[in-house]
Symmetry: C2
Subunit: 357 residues, 2 copies
């Protein structure tokens, strides 16, 4: 069945949805997708017509640039359903903007709002049944763009594919995690692509993270590549440190992804009366605060996990265990609860972050 | 037609070769490929049977790791034909080793020699007609590996595809190039993946290179990300500097690709009586040498271009033009000639670098 809903979008739907065979109780993050996807080609210097179609394989020439030169970017965002069955996005403008910043840094074409926001709204509208209500439930949205032109020559592609996938999600990590502070490996450098959500940034972290996992840790907290003295962010999360009753987090930079969760938490925390300081956080002050007992909490913040509490970290062969706080004393839990309630439309949204589809 | 040549390889050939329609006079580097390709899957913790088959599209789930996290590596090497129609590889052991080093750094499985070297020999053997004789002529070989497992979760794939493509080549660049020395952008950092031939390293360079091109330069010479004071390498070439009659090139490091051309040139140049020093090369000493007239040559060295002469460079808004040397005074031309003659089997190979297929 092929229908034109807008002049700029063609929709082909599946004959039969696979939703009945989807187990919403046991959801593995990012593993399964909804019935449809959105695709849009870029060629002859222009974005072409959008197409919503059954989720299906991508076919590319083996010399396509994405396979050889990693010209690929993505975004991660979520949709939520409220008690009235309305579906909401959380700050989609931020992801749209960041996607285009990533595009520029990777020498890829920017995309227009009609395609990015309009396209994903149209796709989610079709997949409403896949968005479940309830705090923590969401539909994870994965817009991405890959370089499709063929030819093994190390120069930017002239052809691209923009695509949106949807995957039902609960929360990302379960439980607290242990992290290792990077002493040798690094994620990003000044003048590099660390601030872009570029594919290549992630595979670069796999090996050091594997080593950390073999040593008994879940994740790495990256430090600045030049001196390894400043705490930057984790694999897919920005990081907050609570010393006494103040929250500290590094300023965004060329090396650090400008996380939507991070910026929302900063605003939310301030409005809730928490003390928040955005400034470089030194490894040294954290180990010192851990030693003298003033380091109360560390947590990661990102769309997938929302907030992930960190129970301890290792640095220079030493392991630092954080204190066990009562739930009601945790800034992390309070902020996570407040933010997810806003996202799931279970609380007021004074910031006007949520956008109805 | 399906034949088993070795227990571990299946071969399906094209019905009709497209070689007659290939224009060997006007070859654009990396744009066109031979009739066949080699593929080999990695799954269930093991490399599967190799397959040589007609060059054809790769089909992947849209959530395949390579599209989202850039888990992809490659190699670049060449085959040459001598006057007796024998086909030769140049130091394939070096590319094989480097491929596996890249694999480790990107958390990908290493591949065995039978598949990498054996596989490419079998493929080239089938494509002998595509290798043309004559100095500078070659068949460019592109082994690569991509992460194929589906799922948008930022962790290493458990499934991979190894693939080899072949593309007839002449030389890569024509004429001398102008370069820009990087002052702000960077290619790699300590603790990063600069020494790996990882896909993500290349797309990271596209935007700064585009800016350099808009300013009238062909390429960027990267400096160390921490201080921007040391000259490292170009996009796909290591770099040599001649001051008076000595050649200088940076030592390889975590940030610099260990180029086969670079190491071969160092050995060849030494054996030809040239003075070669491998040590960090400072931007400052090069601008100084350019100013006082002792900087005679700069050239890039890599498989694709072999040697690419650089006629001048810009640094801090200033352009430094190198002297016009007579051809017979150029170390670059002499070394390029000697190396390509060894590669094309037009000269003796005292180093035993060439390997017959
Ligand atoms: C490297 C990195 N840092 C931080 C984040 C958090 O950003 P956001 O809150 O926008 O999801 C992400 C995204 O998931 C990320 O990939
Ligand atoms: C970043 C980089 N540096 C240097 C080189 C040169 O290495 P080789 O001489 O092995 O081709 C390459 C490969 O082409 C490269 O990609």
């Amino acid at each position: 069945m092929e229908v034109d809903v807008m002049s700029n979008i063609s929709i082909t739907t599946v004959d039969k949805s696979k939703i009945d065979s989807f187990d919403f109780e046991n959801v593995k993050f990012g593993a399964k997708f909804t019935d449809h996807m959105l695709v849009c080609e870029y060629k002859n210097n222009a974005w072409q017509q959008m197409e919503i179609k059954p989720y299906s394989a991508i076919e590319l020439d083996p010399s396509a640039r994405v396979f050889h030169y990693g010209q690929a970017i993505f975004e991660g965002m979520k949709a939520y359903k409220d008690d009235n069955d309305d579906v909401w996005l959380f700050r989609p403008d931020q992801n749209f903007e960041r996607f285009n910043k990533s595009a520029v840094r990777l020498a890829m074409p920017e995309i227009d709002e009609e395609r990015f926001i309009g396209g994903l709204k149209a796709l989610i509208d079709l997949e409403r049944a896949w968005v479940r209500k309830g705090q923590g439930n969401s539909l994870y949205i994965r817009p991405f763009m890959i370089a499709t032109e063929s030819g093994v020559i190390a120069s930017p592609s002239n052809e691209f594919l923009f695509c949106i996938l949807l995957s039902p999600a609960k929360s990302y990590y379960s439980g607290k995690i242990k992290v290792q502070i990077a002493e040798h490996f690094s994620r990003a450098a000044n003048g590099g692509i660390g601030a872009a959500k570029a594919a290549g940034n992630y595979s670069a972290q796999f090996y050091p993270t594997k080593l950390a996992q073999e040593a008994g840790f879940n994740q790495v907290i990256w430090t600045d590549s030049a001196t390894h003295t400043k705490l930057e962010e984790a694999g897919t999360m920005n990081v907050f440190f609570r010393i006494k009753d103040t929250l500290y987090t590094a300023p965004t930079s060329e090396r650090i992804l400008d996380g939507v969760t991070r910026k929302s938490l900063i605003e939310l925390a301030k409005s809730e009366g928490y003390q928040v300081e955005v400034r470089p956080v030194l490894v040294e002050e954290i180990t010192k605060a851990a030693a003298d007992g003033t380091l109360k909490e560390i947590f990661g913040a990102g769309t997938a996990a929302v907030i992930n509490q960190i129970e301890g970290f290792s640095y220079k062969e030493q392991y630092y265990q954080l204190p066990e706080l009562k739930d009601e004393e945790c800034f992390a839990l309070d902020l996570k609860n407040k933010l997810t309630r806003i996202q799931n439309k279970l609380a007021n949204d004074p910031f006007e972050w949520t956008v109805k589809i």
